[in-house]
């Protein structure tokens, strides 16, 4: 399991560094690129957890679609290089963020996580499909997510439509 440990630490360190860069970089375009790196390391961690389908979907959705849309939005804004100067709420925001980090870390460390002793499923796609669309699965949640996305699209269309 040495290889997995090394992979996890490398991915974790790069991921956290990239996430910090997203917040700290002044140049919004570079911040968006760091966000892409962060998404990629998350996909890498999914791979080490034998969740290959999830990893591919993570890359497809987050890197291929969402980040690209974020960059497109950045290109439509002005004075990107000067970035977004911080406002008056800098200190309170910092305090809230630290509190949130503390609560989440506390919860993560003190939860008794159940670790399965079984070897990971191969292949994962069939098992996922049964869980999502089979009997007793999460089909309702899938459908609700689809309706939610449709509502969001309709909302966007209504917002930008010319009167």
């Amino acid at each position: 399991m040495m290889g997995l440990d090394i992979a996890f630490w490398v991915l974790a360190i790069i991921g956290i560094a990239a996430a910090l860069a997203v917040v700290l970089l002044r140049d919004v375009f570079r911040a968006a690129l760091s966000l892409i790196l962060c998404f990629l390391t998350v996909a890498g961690i999914y791979v080490t957890l034998s969740a290959d389908f999830l990893a591919a979907v993570q890359v497809l959705i987050y890197v291929g679609a969402i980040s690209v849309l974020i960059i497109l939005a950045i290109m439509l804004t002005r004075e990107v290089q000067r970035g977004s100067p911080s406002g008056k709420l800098r200190i309170p925001a910092f305090v809230v963020a630290i509190l949130f980090l503390g609560v989440v870390s506390f919860a993560l460390i003190n939860t008794p996580w159940q670790i399965s002793q079984l070897p990971p499923l191969e292949p994962t796609t069939a098992a996922l499909a049964v869980k999502l669309f089979g009997e007793g699965g999460f089909i309702l949640a899938v459908e609700i997510a689809a309706v939610l996305l449709l509502a969001a699209i309709l909302g966007a269309v209504v917002l930008v439509r010319e009167k």
């Binding site: 399991m1 140049d27 570079r30 591919a56 890359v59 497809l60 291929g64 679609a65 292949p123």
Partner: protein, 374 residues
């Protein structure tokens, strides 16, 4: 899986999935296939460049490159040497890091696609059970590289080119993936090798409409000529790579052809039966089919003029997307209702459906009609 995860359990699993007569263990297999992929991709790109330039010459009733070596066969080599010794120019006000990184970000995913392309039975770097999904996911990263090039150059034409790419790639990705789903439904697997094994008859006969949609959407994804708005010379000079020279420009040139090669290989694998074929050895069949698909791609390039941006977008959303959805619906019905039906009636039924749908859509759907709207 195994390509990312060299832990011991996955090595054992991996060895079990290898064909029994395959020499060597996990790392040897890995090393050999990395070498094979490089030895396949680089000469194939050179061959494609030569083939396309000579072919385009024929189509345009001129000679094409014919001076360097016999029949001009060394022209790509001469071009490569020329481009390597050119000066590397970085725009003074550009974002230097992004400008430097962009060609690499564009090139690496284009090469990574070949990790799951089967050259023969089981002869592939990693037989991922999510093979085709991996291809779609990885190829969506390339657009980030083009974006970085457009942004880092600090040039308005570069930026316009990059913006056009994004609009185009995001729009065409939807029909692209939907048309792949038809193949996945019939073969019942996402693994590239299993998809080839399932093709007792090539899927182009069972999925003619899917093939058509995939072919057009893929041409748009890799910005081949009817859709190459991001580098439309008559409008925006050279688009996203206007500020690139020397080795970095060569990398973008390589990306363009590596993507064409990848798309040819994927169309071969998904629709034309991959390495399957009588008499000849499997890798030779694979090569022949790849060249056939590539010929079709540049035939389209030399025949059809470039579209306007509003026409490109309208074509994706009003024509390809509904057709891809209908194709998925029809394929699903066929898989459920007629699972054991004879192939020939199904083939003719599908061809008829394709003909009717294409004619129908061309009747009540107009491209822009002279009105420019985006």
């Amino acid at each position: 899986m195994a390509i990312f995860n060299p832990s011991f359990s996955s090595v054992n699993h991996y060895l079990e999935t290898l064909p029994p007569d395959w020499p060597g263990g996990f790392w040897l297999h890995w090393g050999i296939f990395v070498v094979i992929i490089f030895a396949f991709v680089m000469p194939m790109i050179m061959a494609f460049i030569y083939f396309e330039r000579r072919g385009l010459g024929r189509f345009q009733v001129r000679l094409g490159p014919n001076r360097v070596g016999p029949f001009g066969i060394l022209q790509p080599v001469a071009d490569a040497i020329k481009v390597l010794i050119k000066e590397d120019i970085v725009p003074a006000k550009g974002d230097k890091w992004v400008h430097w990184l962009a060609p690499v970000v564009a090139f690496v995913p284009a090469l990574m696609i070949f990790a799951v392309v089967p050259f023969g039975d089981g002869a592939l770097l990693a037989d991922l059970n999510i093979g085709i999904l991996y291809v779609v996911a990885i190829s969506s990263i390339s657009v980030v590289g083009i974006f970085m090039a457009g942004w880092g150059s600090n040039n308005k034409y570069s930026l316009i080119g990059a913006m056009r790419t994004v609009a185009q790639v995001i729009s065409y990705e939807i029909p692209l993936v939907l048309s792949i789903l038809g193949v996945v439904l019939i073969s019942g697997s996402l693994s590239m090798n299993k998809i080839v094994e399932a093709q007792t008859i090539p899927f182009i006969l069972l999925q003619p409409l899917g093939f058509l949609i995939y072919f057009l959407a893929a041409c748009a994804e890799i910005n081949r000529t009817p859709f190459d708005l991001l580098e439309a010379e008559s409008e925006i000079v050279a688009g996203f790579h206007i500020e690139y020279s020397g080795m970095k420009f060569a990398l973008f040139y390589l990306v363009e052809y590596a993507e064409v090669l990848a798309i040819s290989a994927i169309i071969t694998t998904l629709f034309l039966g991959g390495w399957r074929g009588p008499v000849l050895p499997s890798f030779l069949w694979f090569l022949i089919k790849v060249f056939g698909v590539f010929f079709l791609i540049f035939w389209v390039r030399s025949t059809i003029p470039r579209l306007r941006i509003d026409q490109v977008m309208a074509f994706a959303w009003k024509c390809l997307l509904p057709l891809a959805l209908l194709n998925l619906l029809i394929t699903g019905i066929e898989v459920i209702v007629l699972p054991e039906a004879l192939p020939w009636p199904i083939i003719f039924l599908n061809l008829a459906i394709m003909a009717v749908l294409v004619v129908l859509w061309s009747k009540f759907f107009r491209l822009g009609g002279g009105r420019v709207e985006v």
